[in-house]
Amino acid sequence: MPRASHLPHLVAVGDAEERDDDALMAAARAGDRAAFDALVRRHQRRVIGFAHKFFDHPALACDVAQDAFVDLLRAVPTYRADGHFRAFLFRLTLNRCRMAARSRRYEDGVGHALPVGETAAADREQERAVQAAMMKLTEKQREILLLRFWGGLSHDEASEALGVPVGTVKSRLFGALEAVRALWSRR
């Protein structure tokens, strides 16, 4: 939103904050702005990367990530510090991805899987091929693969993030692995 202060350019970000996520959320609840900023800087690449892999669209990814962190900021007063911060943050991210996918706001970007570039470097070619296969999966399949392998969530954490039983996570995960492998093998 245009305002008096301009947003920063691309900057190298460091994270000297050593407190864990729950401690930072508690500090943010107590009014420590720097604690929340440290949380954003700690997790922004993971969240942007999730949305980027979900949409295959970096500008959309930044948009969605901003919304997810705004949701996190608004959740500060009510967040329960129970050691499940990552699952909580990915749940917010996932909700924003789903909303974006259904919103006309993103009509020009969603669902347009980008082709594998002929000029892609060899060491990235496989990642692009896998991403292209991912974009052909259903949203649910893509979500579970990203939570598990990009987010590094355990089955239990993925269950929390998705709000479904662990058994559902597993069956969805195994099905998604089979599906993406089949698509990738046909490349």
């Binding site: 901003q66 009509e107 892609a120 896998v130």
Partner: protein, 268 residues
């Protein structure tokens, strides 16, 4: 595949460590001598490694953007309309920068963007137009595709310029279905005015400073953000608008990156 191979589902379960010990041992024993199962397990390993690999994204610090987006109620920066002379000044600045680029580079032709390793092939994927409707009460509302705009409303512009080699110039123009152009950056208010792209900065949600107001015709208005390596001229873009279909989402301009959104201008 041999008749005794485990199913792909069981191989996926084994990969995830979800088979009980006896089943896992039996599958491992089989896989040791089965090229098919070895290949499937190898593919699962490669696939998940690719999913876990970091995508080629620039370093972006979202803190300020998040704080800004969370601020309620939103306030606009100014209600100043960029005057014709302001537009001319912006055009002159862009031209001067272009000249500087040409002198420093020793040539005046357009510079090709280096392709990031493994980057998406479409440069459009790295840019985004954000437009905001300035309401009379001082609030601003983001214009989403299909969103509504009053005929005389002011418009504020921001953009994402996240290409690994950020675009140095940007233009923003609106076009109605009759093919009329409404210039936002550079802001031009008279037919026949000329101007050039304005300098662009790298980053997410980069704001352009001024509110621009045109008297728009009711109906669909498509706003285009045009990013380029060298300044585009207003006349060049208006020729492209004339050549494009009325519903085109992209203008026929070589090189560069574009993003557009269509909004609806309400009748009074």
């Amino acid at each position: 595949m041999t008749g005794g191979c485990p199913s792909d589902h069981d191989l996926a379960r084994r990969f995830e460590g979800e088979l009980v010990a006896d089943q896992a041992a039996a599958l491992d024993e089989h896989a040791r001598s089965c090229l098919h199962c070895q290949a499937v397990l190898g593919e699962l390993k490669a696939l998940t490694a690719a999913i876990a690999a970091a995508p080629p994204l620039p370093e972006v610090d979202l803190v300020a953007a998040v704080r800004q987006r969370a601020a309620l109620p939103p306030r606009r920066r100014s209600v100043a309309r960029l005057s014709w002379s302001g537009a001319a000044a912006a055009g002159a600045l862009a031209a001067a920068l272009a000249l500087a680029v040409a002198v420093r580079g020793g040539r005046s032709d357009r510079v090709a963007a280096p392709q990031a390793r493994g980057a998406p092939t479409s440069p459009d994927a790295w840019v985004r137009l954000r437009a905001y409707r300035a309401l009379p009460d001082g609030r601003t509302v983001e214009l989403t595709p299909g969103g509504h705009l009053g005929r005389g409303d002011g418009v504020l512009i921001a953009y994402d310029n996240l290409d690994p080699a950020p675009w140095p110039f940007v233009m923003v123009v609106g076009a109605d279905r009759a093919g009329r152009a409404f210039w936002y950056y550079p802001a031009l208010s008279r037919d026949g005015d000329d101007g050039r792209s304005v300098p662009a900065r790298a980053g997410a949600a980069v704001e352009l400073p001024d509110e621009v107001r045109h008297t728009l015709a009711p109906g669909p208005l498509r706003l285009f953000a045009l990013f380029s390596r060298a300044p585009l001229s207003v006349r060049e873009v208006e020729r492209a608008l004339a050549a494009a279909a009325p519903t085109a989402r992209r203008l026929p301009i070589a090189d560069g990156a574009q993003h557009s959104i269509e909004v609806m201008v309400d009748a009074d």
